[in-house]
Symmetry: C2
Subunit: 263 residues, 2 copies
């Protein structure tokens, strides 16, 4: 992190309020739709003006739908392994097959759940393959390149409205040791996902050795509070958070096994 | 979760904005101070009126300081094991000793870090024993009973202002698989920490089998965005989040090893 950025953190900005604004009225997203445009139109209908430095948090489900990352289970032919494993862990073998196609490593297989590392490097349930909030018999996959999905939305907003925003694509992940799921960032454009206090000193002169905050995950979690899995509320705008503009892939949020002391 | 509560989630409330408001001017907290009163006074100076159903998120550090949960390392005598282990993992043996006194189980010991389960059941770095944001040579422990700490603040606000709020005590935890830390809830009063979608159906009639959101952790993370580890900004008020009032201990947020598929 640059010196300028670090100074930035000391500023009056920390005293500002942050607002979480749900974007309503996006409706069902279909393959091929321009999500940036859908967001712009929904904001216009709400008479809500997107501003510079807003952070647009978009749940991956609408991104995946727009990108056609939806599969009909009836069209999936499970491999021999998927059939065996599905029987063993009591999971639809076709769902198992799709998980295998999305995973680059299986971490754990237990009743009803495959914990897997996706091609992006994220460790999550069923490699992100999800059956909720999609037509019956279908599964939603994660976007192939969530950073690019985020950038397209950001570019559309710059092109159409002339506003410079950041975009976070989010998903709901489980975690070890803690009950309940929280939303995390799986795609980024225009924002440094970390606030890095290492080497900085607190008010007592103590160097903050271990403090790197994953603000991208925190922003995704904050936005989730405004999304309601039962309403269709896939986009939330975070206003007032003083982030650092950067082009960093969300892949850096996946901890490398070699440096994962918590694993 | 009661039926009434579940119906609640369908309401128009999901379309509301949420605001995160940092409480400024609390200053250094000393042993024996009444934290509820400090928060009330700081809000009054800000000309900010606490309202019913506000959620007050308080970083544990000020709670621990008010409760005298601060130790001088010079007064700690390390055990033989702490001396050996400290040498081996390159960590001050007195710090190791304090971690041992706070832990009920060690999960992992690696260079500079002990991953431990606290007496509350939380798995975190150094059993929550922290050297930052405290006078040099001192360490801060987690509050002994963070739910009670939360309840005291809540009671003080009810007594003094006649307002019914919820209180979350937060801490910054690392996680497996994800880089960077995020804030989580370690103490609760007046709020159901989960939004439980199990058994509910999405718009396609699909039952949301695996969706239990830990909104307490998400609220703690959201609040962290308004706290600045370098400024003194230990309290954030979340306004507009439609939580369910309940008296549930934050201990339920610690996942039991037996049902921890992610472990």
């Amino acid at each position: 992190m640059a010196k300028e950025t670090k100074r930035h953190l000391f500023g009056a900005s920390a005293k500002k309020r942050i607002e979480l604004i749900p974007v309503v009225g996006i409706g069902e997203v279909e393959r091929g739709q321009n999500l940036g445009k859908l967001i712009i139109d929904a904001c216009a209908k709400m008479r809500f003006k997107i501003q510079d430095r807003d952070i647009i948090v978009v749940t991956h489900k609408v991104v995946s739908k727009a990108e056609g990352r939806v599969l009909e289970l009836a069209k999936v032919t499970p491999s021999k392994f998927a059939l065996k494993a599905g029987r063993h862990i009591k999971k639809d073998p076709r769902h198992v097959e799709v998980v295998l196609s999305e995973a680059r490593r299986l971490v754990k297989m237990v009743r009803g759940l495959i914990l897997a590392e996706t091609s992006h490097g994220f460790v999550c349930a069923n490699a992100g393959v999800d059956q909720s909030n999609v037509k019956r018999g279908m599964v939603v996959l994660l976007p192939r390149k969530p950073d690019i999905s985020a950038r397209k939305i950001r570019d559309e907003i710059r092109k159409t409205l002339g506003r410079e925003v950041a975009v976070i694509i989010s998903d709901t992940f489980g975690r070890p040791w803690r009950e309940g799921q929280t939303d995390v960032a799986i795609g980024l454009s225009g924002i440094d996902p970390f606030r890095d206090y290492r080497g900085m000193k607190d008010q007592y002169g103590y160097e903050l050795a271990a403090s790197v905050i994953n603000v991208a995950d925190e922003l995704a979690s904050a936005a989730e509070l405004c999304m309601n899995k039962l309403d269709r509320n896939p986009v939330v705008i975070v206003r007032g958070y003083d982030y650092v503009t950067a082009d960093i892939s969300a892949r850096v949020l996946a901890r490398k096994p070699s440096r994962d002391l918590f694993r």
